[in-house]
């Protein structure tokens, strides 16, 4: 609050005071008060007035800056009304009570929404765990049917699994606890697990995969990283070329960071769509023409890597192939290992 703001706020009151002083001065001089006495009286009056206004101004400013300080240091701004000191005068007190009621109702609404969100997320997580048992049973049973039908069934079951997996990671991502475990791991292991998860898909699509220089050390959550590579592999399979589909997964250092690049020789992504591939729900012309794209895979990948401070980059040339680069953060070995979030 500046002096100017303060004065303009009190303009009407001050003008009224001035008029009143003037009227008093005219009245006093008309009733025969001597000029000397009158000036003395007016000076004293104005001095008192200025003192009162200055005191008001300082008090008001101190109060406001205290409130400002509280607001600035609050993590959750909506808790403001719970933290401010009780007001001094009657008007402020009433205002305070009203704001506090508004704040309380806001807090309740926020915590209700949080609880509902958490319950929903927990339900999704338990649903995902529950549904894995019947999928497992169905996988085992599918061995009894005739091989061709069995293969088709397994392919469909794998699709269900992939969708379920995305739902699980979506729920995990929304969780404020973000329960991931960063520890020392090797891209070789992560990539091997991701390939293993989608091996029937990859083998049936006739893929050849080359891995190179993956024996590195990165600090990451293996499961999350495995999910990210799994999504990239699924995309490579979905957008593969007909003849001789090929994936190359190679590790490399860029500066002190470790980057794992997954390159394929698939149909590629049109240049104008490339900047949007990480958007939620974006499927692109390839996704629309081939069907089955959810627009969630890469969106989740980017979100998950952002949580783990990893970076995702994508390069593509239409008709030639796509490269997705996962860049793992550099971590101090001592402080990063085994650190849980």
């Amino acid at each position: 609050m500046t002096i100017r703001e303060f004065l303009s706020d009190r303009l009407r009151r001050l003008l009224f005071q001035a008029v009143f002083i003037m009227a008093a001065a005219i009245f006093l001089s008309a009733t025969g008060t001597g000029m000397g006495v009158l000036i003395l009286l007016l000076c004293a009056w104005i001095l008192v007035l200025i003192c009162i206004q200055t005191y008001d101004f300082l008090k008001c400013r101190a109060h406001l800056s205290e409130l400002q300080f509280i607001m600035d240091h609050l993590d959750e701004k909506y808790l403001f009304t719970e933290c401010i000191p009780k007001a001094g005068n009657l008007y402020e007190r009433y205002l305070f009570i009203l704001t506090k009621r508004a704040g309380r109702s806001m807090i309740r609404a926020v915590s209700d929404a949080r609880a509902a969100n958490r319950e929903y997320r927990e339900y999704v997580e338990s649903f995902v765990h529950e549904i894995k048992a019947p999928i497992t049973a169905a996988r085992l049973i599918s061995r009894h049917v005739e091989p061709e039908t069995g293969r088709k069934l397994i392919k469909e079951l794998s699709q269900i699994e992939a969708h379920v997996e995305r739902a699980l990671f979506y729920a995990r991502l929304e969780s404020p606890e973000k329960d991931f475990l960063v520890r020392q791991s090797s891209p070789a292991v992560i990539v091997a697990n991701a390939i293993e998860r989608y091996r029937s898909l990859l083998i049936q699509s006739g893929f050849r995969i080359e891995t190179d220089n993956l024996e590195q050390t990165v600090y990451t959550d293996e499961k999350w990283a495995e999910f990210i590579f799994g999504q990239i592999l699924q995309n490579a399979v979905r957008y593969r070329r007909k003849e001789d589909p090929f994936i190359r997964i190679s590790g490399g250092r860029s500066g002190s960071q470790i980057a794992i690049t997954v390159s394929d020789n698939g149909i590629g992504i049109p240049a104008h769509e490339l900047p949007r591939v990480f958007e939620r729900g974006f499927t692109g012309s390839n996704g629309r023409s081939l069907g089955g794209a959810t627009g969630m895979g890469l969106y989740l990948c980017r979100k998950l890597s952002a949580c783990m401070e990893a970076e995702l980059q994508i390069f593509s040339e239409e008709g030639k192939g796509t490269q997705v680069m996962v860049i793992f953060p550099v971590r101090d070995a001592e402080s990063g290992a085994g650190k849980s979030f």
Partner: protein, 221 residues
Amino acid sequence: MSKIMIIEDDPVIRDELTLLLQNEGYHVAAVTVFRDIATQVSESAPDLILLDLGLPERDGFSLCAEFRRNLDTPVIFVTSHDSALDELQALSLGGDDYITKPYNVPVLLARIRSVLRRSTVRSGSENPGVNGLTLDPMKGYASANGKTIELTRNELQILACLMEHNGEIVSRANLIETLWDNQIYIDDNTLSVNMTRLRGKLESIGLSDFIKTRRGMGYQL
């Protein structure tokens, strides 16, 4: 043949798993009453335990810790909970492997084989030669008739897989699966190329027609 104990509360999965493992030639014991599991395990003395983490009475973690007190039977955890924390806990409690549901049947079998192999390697076993050919997998050499050839990783794995199933027909699909188990991710065409090269090398040490092609079925030693 090895004896595998299944501790799994879902009856459909338990029965199917039992059937699957029996078909693979394992002896199977399945736990159906989930009380005093540790006693049941020590009574049936299996070579491997498949342990589900979400059991009705108590969780698999504490169960595994109990096994570990007086048994060193390898344990593979099977669970639908798939987080790094769960896996870390499972392995630190003395689990030998950790598989998440839903699993691929070939992957499950491969993991079982590798855990069993690891535990039998501890007691020491040697890979004998087949039809005069001996394999040195550590050095990547194969030798016969006093001559030695150097093999690539792919050729070595192909040969090892065929020698492991000596006399049986191994289909191309199975061969590809086995190679993928060993992190060699090749397609059908690459397998043919590798096979041709391998045969050429075997011929150079006097083993022509060592690997027979069974048309429409696969390969056989």
